[in-house]
Point group: C2
DNA sequence: TTCTTATATTCGAGAGATCGAATATATCCC
DNA sequence: GGGATATATTCGATCTCTCGAATATAAGAA
């Protein structure tokens, strides 16, 4: 495998992470991990403009992370790879540890300052 | 827990993902998962400017993903949470599946077009 | 066809990310 | 102290992201 392809893999890998790098898209993915939802339901859930929801869904579609199935006038979105949510869960664990570390460090510093 | 805090968690979660959303930072994290490295070694590995490496390391530091330990004139960086690389591995798996799906779809389409 | 509802796309403004170049800081050695 | 090396930061240009507003498309009902 040529180095140029290796770099392209890392680019795609980064673009996948980029798709997760927005709080609303994270919410969308977690919601879809429960059950498929159409755009209207997601719009109500997120409490933002419908066009904005569609824009975020377009990002997730571009990255191949969701399926879109038209059902009459609705479009039903579903999660394509549950592993994405597993990855998000791992990162949430990292976040928890990181916050805990930060808090403990702050507490130690407070002891010294007191 | 108040809704405002829930939203802040999703914001932090997204910021964590954002830290992974760059090919060079992904390479840095994978390299550090093998062993701690100093800035010079990372610069050589990535083949980019030293200032750029420092900038990427600053992002990872800000998000609390790496430790930086000064050793004389060098600074040794190490991975703080191996789970981050586990999450990257999961996403790489998703990427592989996604590419495989795309290829298979293209093959089926070629059958029809032929 | 026209009307209505659901969803998608386009556009432009503002915010944010990335880079190289230049400069600053920190440590060590003399 | 001064000089050398390693790393960090700042600055400005360019690019990308996100949003709301407006508009476009698609399907169904009348």
């Amino acid at each position: 495998m040529k180095p140029v392809f290796v770099e392209e893999i890392h680019q795609l890998h980064a673009e996948l992470c980029q798709a997760l790098a927005d709080p609303k898209r994270i919410l969308i993915l977690y919601a879809l991990s429960e059950r498929p939802l159409n755009v209207g339901e997601l719009t109500e859930l997120l409490g933002i403009r419908q066009s904005n929801v569609s824009q975020h869904l377009a990002v997730l579609r571009d990255r191949g992370l969701v399926n879109a199935e038209r059902d009459g006038t609705n479009v039903r979105y579903s999660l394509k790879y549950p592993m994405v949510v597993a990855a998000l869960d791992l990162l949430r664990g990292v976040l928890r540890d990181s916050l805990s570390d930060t808090r403990n460090r702050a507490e130690r510093l407070m002891e010294i300052v007191r």
